[in-house]
Symmetry: C2
Subunit: 120 residues, 2 copies
């Protein structure tokens, strides 16, 4: 067994119709919005088209049934966007949930993947 | 909160260089090989090109450092492939590991995602 094998866990939350999902990509975009206080700047920081960023936000709103962004006015850049309290709570819950599942998965890993395979 | 939100967890195992990974797609292909006793039939059952199926098998062998398929000869289809004992053990470990992590994640879900968002 490759002793340096890495574990990567992805948590996605899907709507009933299985078409709209919330996962690591949307979470990263929301973190960037919180950081830059602007959806346009958040998208640019990920080399993502602004129109795509909006589509992603709409997807998240559709999955969770709540508004994700609030407009802010003024400031040197003439306004921007911040996360709604619901989006902040959701993002924090997602992050903490992923961290707890990841920690559990990491703890259990050795119990499952400790056999010695033959070389190819 | 959408009460019918579904959880989907993906477990991937990556090699050191982060380029080669073992996940649900490879696991499904291996299950199909075990079922059909043929890589060609397994690939066809997933509408996958035979050449792609071989690349995926090579990736899995590279990630885990062991042979995945053994040739079998004879039978009405003139030979085929079965999983090596190492591949069988690995696939069983992966399935059981995913199931345990999924069960834990499902148990913890409500504790994180029980808030009431506003309507859009």
């Amino acid at each position: 067994m490759n002793e340096h094998l890495k574990l990567k866990l992805t948590v996605r939350l899907y709507s009933d119709d299985d078409e709209r999902g919330f996962g690591p990509g949307i979470a990263t975009l929301l973190h960037r919005v919180a950081e830059h206080r602007s959806l346009r700047a958040a998208a640019a920081s990920m080399a993502m088209a602004y129109s795509k960023a909006w589509r992603i936000i709409r997807t998240a709103e559709s999955v969770f049934g709540c508004k994700m962004l609030d407009s802010v006015t003024g400031g040197k850049n003439g306004g921007g966007a911040v996360l709604t309290p619901e989006a902040e709570a959701l993002l924090a819950a997602y992050d903490q949930y992923c961290a707890e599942v990841q920690e559990f998965a990491a703890e259990k890993f050795k119990g499952y993947f400790d056999f010695e395979p033959k070389g190819v």
